[in-house]
Amino acid sequence: MSDVIEVKKRDETGTLRMRRLRSSGRVPAVVYGQGKDSVSVSIATRDVEKMIRSGRHIVELGGDVTEDALVKEVQWDAFGSHVLHLDFARIDAGQSVEVALTVELRGVAPGTRSGGVVKHMLHELIVKCPANKMPEQLEVNINELELDQVITAGEIALPDAAELLVDGSEIVVTCVTPSAETETDEDGGVSGMAEPEVIGRKADDDDGDDS
């Protein structure tokens, strides 16, 4: 909670007006929660991009609305390149909130020198933590990850008073021997078969016509 994000109250709503707002360099957002009325606001696009890059989940709003808020939801366009809308939930500094934190790997696994491949299985972990102690991401040191070893969710160091909301035995990262590429695919498809089976057609029926 370092930088203050300047927000402006907005009275306009609707698709066309929001489209115009976005083209003028601002992103629509809403602030709600704690039994108070929801407030429609807008934020400068460059501030939103900065906030997204930093990966902060807890932000300090300034300007027309001065509150601490949790970034509850970010709406993206179909290409994932522009933010369309933001949801902020009001919070108190000491209040516990549930957030999906990104898991970042740090270091080089010694298992890769023995021919292994680092497999990052869980990219996000849901954590309940007081808002003032919320980290931006969870860092996992893989400098001691040997071949065929795993790091589970329970082994990841969390901040004080933080609680893990996923099963502690879930594998976050592992170092495995790469499997040889096979000709058949794992996605349930078949390869090399003449034609797929038609559901509901009898085996002796030639072309599936009712006649």
Binding site: I52, F79, E183, I199
Partner: protein, 138 residues
């Protein structure tokens, strides 16, 4: 070998239209980097396979390649020098319907530079414009 469904409800389907952008399958979910389509089109099963071979030859077991699209749609054609009529042709090949924004392939366990080179090789096989995207934090 090229992909195709195991079981289908109908052997032949109408051509249809590809309208709008992808609202599903447009996020990098399994790996760290993805190849995103920027145009609509049909992606043949053979092309998906050609892309897979191009990518696996480059990464050589270092990372993991995920194929995010599957050819569910059959495309029919009538043989050459056939007179008009006599009904719809026979299924010839299978395609995946791609809308702009769809993630086609994902890569995990490789550096950004390696992913960039790998996807550049893969992009040459694609019948439409594509770009590399990274996993989003939020």
């Amino acid at each position: 070998m090229a992909l195709m469904p195991k079981r289908v409800k109908h052997r032949k389907v109408q051509r249809g239209r590809i309208k709008g952008n992808a609202t599903r399958g447009n996020k990098v979910v399994f790996g760290d980097y993805g190849l995103q389509s920027l145009e609509p089109g049909w992606l043949k099963a053979q092309t998906i396979e050609a892309g897979r071979i191009a990518a696996t030859q480059y990464i050589r077991g270092e990372g993991k390649l995920y194929i995010r699209v599957f050819p569910h749609r059959s495309i029919t054609s009538t043989p050459l020098e056939t007179r008009m009529g006599k009904g719809k042709g026979e299924p010839e090949y299978w395609v995946a319907t791609i809308r702009p924004g769809t993630i086609l392939y994902e890569l995990g366990g490789v550096s950004e530079q390696q992913a960039k080179i790998c996807f550049a090789r893969l992009a040459h096989k694609m019948p439409f414009k594509v770009r590399m995207v990274k996993r989003r934090a939020m």
